[in-house]
């Protein structure tokens, strides 16, 4: 058969176009009567104070760092998992060692208190 990536590329293209259709159709026939009250931000009836794109809590950043480490490591694990059946036991043990080093990182972060939501 043909290259499956051509199919996936076309799929992505149409997959983006299909959700646009109802929005465009709705924009054609829906009423448009904007007014300042209607367009104000809904925050349970209280008027908005300041800008809303505020800075985020630093805790998210730390979790993002831990995530980044683990996500990159799991990408390394995929080739190992695919070829696992063809590998000798020694290579499997090496992979296990790799995971254990990874877990040591998690234990380190845990002991350092990075995993606490404060």
């Amino acid at each position: 058969m043909q290259n499956p990536w051509i199919y996936v590329g076309l799929f992505l293209l149409i997959g983006i176009i299909i959700p646009i259709i109802p929005i465009a159709f709705s924009a054609l026939i829906a009423p448009k009567k904007p007014n300042p009250i209607k367009q104000s931000t809904y925050e349970c009836g209280i008027e908005t104070v300041g800008v809303s794109q505020v800075q985020l809590k630093a805790q998210y950043y730390i979790f993002a760092l831990v995530f980044l480490i683990f996500d990159v490591e799991t990408v390394f694990l995929f080739p190992w998992a695919v070829s696992l059946n063809a590998l000798p036991f020694f290579a499997v043990a090496e992979g296990v060692l790799f995971i254990l080093i990874l877990m040591a990182g998690l234990v380190f972060a845990w002991r350092k208190g990075m995993l606490e939501w404060v």
Partner: protein
């Protein structure tokens, strides 16, 4: 080769001969055929999505002791259509100070990211979109786009509740993606391939991976629920505290797309659960009659979807620190322990007659040890907390 045994091949052969008969080149013909297939597939998925609205409403009604939609058509089956008409003719309000481009792109990406997933789903024997050899990675990548849409919606809405919901979703997503990816490694180890076709074919004849790795299936289910942002992990919506979070400012069809995307996402993950651990479309006579395979796949996906709904409507929402603790201190270590156990058991017992019971037993033992450790640590925590002082009576 007849229509019942290979419908796609019959139709594509007929269309190819028709189009090349008109003088089109072979390359263009195959692209055109792909386009027809894609549009058919997406249309089928969208029709399914529309019916999921009815399923969701009916099931939540049953869980809450109500009747649910029962007026429009038999059992309220046509209820989604008036819903859609209502959503389309609603006014579309863009709040002041919203980032227009990002605000309008978010719902499109939300639904689009779920539709993307269906490019690699094996629906039945010889009925599938693309047979990618990295389908699992593609699935993780496309699934993460949904989270991107959530943070786009939250950031662009110029609303503090929406922003909070988006932050929470990102925290949940970046945490629960680790156990999910590790749970995806389990079928990869068992098959030695990332292709969803190969993973399904390895499970033919009732040889489900659920029997080899029940813990893996459980891990995938839990982390998928968190990834979906469904209760008990629906902190991104949290109706009672941040009034439905990231899509608070969306009205009309844009809200409808978020809603449709959420339902379809849940159903798709039910489908992935069935593909990865419950044999996908495999069932009696499914490989000779693909249409029967479609039926089996949809039934299995529906059961997965129903389990996700069951959890959603039974378990109350948990706090964000509990959620992250649950992930980093429980799910992630368990997932990696399971990965080690599966890899070692797999390479030790490969080819022996003790393979299947051995895999099951190793999973069972790991689960048991985990429960014992949890029991031990929770008892330690209980003892560490002082008993409350009895109220002094005067």
């Amino acid at each position: 080769m007849n229509f019942l045994s290979d419908p796609i091949k019959v139709i594509s052969t007929w269309l190819t001969s028709l189009l090349t008969g008109w003088g089109l080149s072979a390359g263009l013909t195959s692209v055109l055929l792909s386009l027809v297939g894609i549009v058919l597939m997406i249309t089928a998925v969208m029709v399914l999505d529309i019916m999921l609205v009815w399923v969701e409403r009916k099931v939540v009604a049953r869980f809450q002791g109500r009747l649910g939609p029962n007026r429009v058509g038999p059992y309220g089956l046509f209820q989604p259509f008036p819903d859609i008409i209502k959503l389309i003719i609603k006014e579309d309000i863009t709040p002041d100070g919203a980032d227009k481009l990002v605000y309008n792109m978010a719902p499109i990406i939300s639904l689009g990211s779920v539709i993307f997933l269906w490019a690699v789903v094996p629906i039945a024997a010889r009925i599938y979109g693309a047979d990618l050899n990295v389908a699992l990675l593609y699935m993780v990548a496309a699934g993460s786009l949904g989270t991107l849409s959530i943070i786009m919606a939250g950031w662009a809405s110029n609303n503090k509740y929406a922003l909070l919901g988006a932050f929470r979703q990102v925290a949940a997503m970046i945490s629960f993606e680790i156990p999910m990816v590790v749970a995806l490694l389990i079928p990869t180890i068992l098959t030695g391939s990332l292709s969803l076709q190969v993973i399904t074919d390895k499970q033919s004849g009732g040889n489900w991976f659920f029997l080899l790795s029940p813990l893996g299936a459980l891990l995938f289910l839990v982390s998928a629920i968190a990834e979906l942002g469904r209760s008990p992990f629906d902190l991104n919506e949290g109706e009672s505290e941040i009034v439905s979070g990231y899509h608070i400012e969306y009205t009309g069809m844009k809200f409808g797309l978020f809603y449709a995307g959420e339902l379809l996402h849940a159903f798709t993950f039910g489908g992935f659960l069935s593909i990865l651990f419950f044999g996908g479309w495999h069932g009696p006579a499914a490989s000779t009659y693909p249409l029967l395979g479609v039926f089996y796949f949809v039934v299995k996906a529906m059961i997965g979807y129903w389990v996700i709904m069951w959890i959603k409507y039974t378990v109350p929402r948990i706090r964000i620190d509990h959620m992250l603790m649950f992930n980093w201190k429980f799910l992630t270590p368990l997932a990696f322990a399971l990965l080690i156990v599966t890899a070692v058991t797999n390479s030790l017992l490969k080819g022996s007659s003790f393979y299947m019971p051995g895999m099951f037993l190793s999973n069972f033992l790991l689960g048991w040890i985990t429960i014992e450790i949890m029991r031990f640590s929770s008892r330690k925590q209980r003892l560490a907390v002082k008993a409350p002082e009895p109220a002094v009576q005067h």
